[in-house]
């Protein structure tokens, strides 16, 4: 039986990647899940089962903060889905138009913010939107719309939406690139066949291209979902760990950071922090499962 022999070379080649991945990803993940089941009493770690989760969801102080962060996170995601991804698709459709000049320049220009650090983005936008030194009030003034200006980052009702839009600005290049790549793979013959049948211009996009790039849109949606529910950096650099004003920009990432590492006089609580991290993991897991089993399997794929 030749087929049942263990193919050692596969194991050897996989081992380095597996070991590194286990050490830096899998082990910390499971250790975090385990840490959530403990608490600290008198300098020693005690197993308390699901008590931390009971506190997190049962104690009004904790659950209030948790649901606030979760809802803010959902809103952050909704903005990305409604603004970032449609704009990304639109830009990709425009860029893939054969008659567009300087397409490569636009493509790079739109993609550049994606590779910038969150710290730069956070501070740059904070300065742009600053009511004191920012250029936003001046620019609005120049077109006679000064009355529209508000200290957006300092107002409870606008701060989160503003930051979500900053994040959209930063990351719109990613859906654009993915969709652009998907559009380029559509064979000319299919489009030409459509043209012969009288489908051109916009209707070619809606009827031929869009169905063909749906799997890519699905992937982008799930990347956006995972990215948004893991988000932390932008909020932290722009608003600090307290996610002001009045916790209106507090998302699960900042809530977890504050709890885990502590803040100012609040001492860090790694166990409650791990409980929040576990809840985040659960939320993302559920979201990804819904996508994988509910949507991904129903998408129709075309082979050329």
């Amino acid at each position: 039986m030749r087929t049942s022999r263990i193919k050692w070379h596969i194991v050897v080649f996989l081992a380095p990647a597996m070991l590194v991945y286990t050490a830096v990803m899998i082990f910390p993940l499971f250790n975090t899940l385990r840490l959530a089941l403990y608490t600290e009493v008198e300098q020693s770690r005690v197993f308390v089962g699901l008590d931390n989760f009971r506190t997190l969801f049962g104690d009004p102080q904790w659950s209030g903060a948790f649901w606030n962060a979760l809802w803010n996170n959902c809103w952050f995601f909704i903005i990305h889905m409604l603004v970032q991804n449609p704009i990304g698709i639109l830009l990709a459709a425009i860029l893939s138009h054969p008659k567009l000049r300087f397409a490569a320049l636009y493509r790079s220009a739109i993609f550049i913010p994606t590779i910038l650090s969150f710290v730069i983005i956070g501070f740059a936008w904070k300065l742009i939107l600053s009511p004191i030194w920012g250029i936003a009030p001046g620019m609005l003034d120049a077109v006679g719309l000064k009355f529209l200006f508000a200290p957006w980052l300092g107002k409870e009702e606008y701060a989160l939406t503003t930051l979500a839009l900053v994040s959209v600005w930063q990351f719109v290049g990613i859906p654009m690139m993915l969709i652009y790549a998907a559009l380029l793979t559509i064979p000319e013959e299919v489009l030409e066949a459509g043209e012969i049948d009288g489908i051109t211009g916009a209707s070619a996009f809606w009827k031929i291209k869009l169905p063909l790039i749906l799997p890519s849109i699905g992937i982008i949606s799930i990347l956006t979902f995972v990215g948004n529910f893991n988000a932390f950096d932008l909020i932290y650099t722009a608003q600090g760990a307290l996610a002001g004003p009045n916790f209106s920009t507090d998302i699960l990432g900042t809530f977890m950071y504050r709890t885990f590492f502590g803040f100012q006089l609040q001492l860090g609580d790694p166990h409650m922090g791990s409980a929040i991290a576990t809840a985040m993991f659960g939320i993302i897991l559920i979201g990804v499962c819904i996508y994988l089993f509910g949507i991904q399997t129903r998408l129709r794929r075309y082979q050329f």
Binding site: Q43, Q61, W62, K126, L129, S130, P131, I132, W133, A150, P151, W152, L153, G154, K155, E156, Q239, G240, A241, L242, G244, P245, N246, F247, F261, G262, F263, Q264, L265, Q266, L267, G268, D269
Partner: protein, 417 residues
Amino acid sequence: MSLQKIGAALLATTILATGASAQDVELTIESWRNDDLTLWQDKIIPAFEAANPGIKVTFAPSAPAEYNAVLNSKLDAGSAGDLITCRPFDASLALYDAGHLADLSDLGGMANFSDVAKSAWQTDDGSATFCVPMASVIHGFIYNKDAFGELGLEVPETEVEFFAALDAIKEDGTYIPMAMGTNDQWEAATMGYNNIGPNYWKGEEGRTALIAGEQKLTDEAWVAPYRTLAKWGDYLGDGYEAQTYPDSQNIFTLGRAAIYPAGSWEITGFNAQADFEMGAFKPPVQTAGDECYISDHTDIAMGMNAASPNADAAKTFLDWMGTAEFANIYANALPGFFSLSSHDVPMEDPLAQEFVSWRGECNSTIRSTYQILSRGTPNLENDTWNASAQVIKGEESPEDAGKRLQDGLASWYAPHM
């Protein structure tokens, strides 16, 4: 030069270098004061090393906001420095309880500090002291003397005069009356609530009564400062809701604002930035002649990593920190960080002199939320930041803020249950 010669030269320098460091004990200081890096490198460490040959000291600060988290991780991993800059109260107490900070009660230099100075770095019963006090900061208001001169304003003594001055500045329109924002939240609590508050709750009297559970945050003495803060919103600059702490500092030092609710730690920076003359006044009292109270907050100290392999050298350093020499260098290089030692430290900076002169006229207290009360969840200090910012913006009434804080405190702190 041939490769061999270079190799030999390199080898020689390596041997020489190791030869030199073999005799020296190297101490590393953990700190959040990255602003003070040059001061330590150019003044304090050379002075110490000159007096104590054989000990080399490195000052290795990290960013203020990350300090606590970074330090805790380093201590747990066993990679922290020998000397640890101590935050006041619970952050350091937790480190001591966890066995990370050594007990320094027997250190000779400790005799040079009063009990009040040491209180921020002691166990609750005062039996062990684990950090050598370095400095305190005093709250008050810094004002632009040129602006006050132009508008013909007097330094306000009472609250009525204070708001009259703000009205006059606002009326004139040349200057923003007061430079403060609510974006970062902590200024509202630290430079707002805990700056003006001691006059209402009578300093230590109210603070200790609150800890003992005899007073509540819903009492008039604790709500009234919020009522005053609520009036501040009208006098802050346009868009103050998104104004950050550095924004406020810049607005004031650029001469665009007349008054800056301050902590004395600003003095060094302001001296370097502002090209107008500055003065300071203490938090105004309600009626003329009232006894005044100031926040003279014990802010910074130095302790020893209990796991340090160089304990003797570290103790030598800490002992030296109790001397008049250290107090002098520190207080004069960093005007605004006032020595807590009982040495008589002459200071040259006029603004710093003004701040420290209030110690003689008023009763000193520390920030109300720091001792014991911020131990639980919800954290009273963080909640106070939020409440102060909300009250200034007019989004929460002073009474509601007091009630919210009291409810939070009562949910975990036995004397208030």
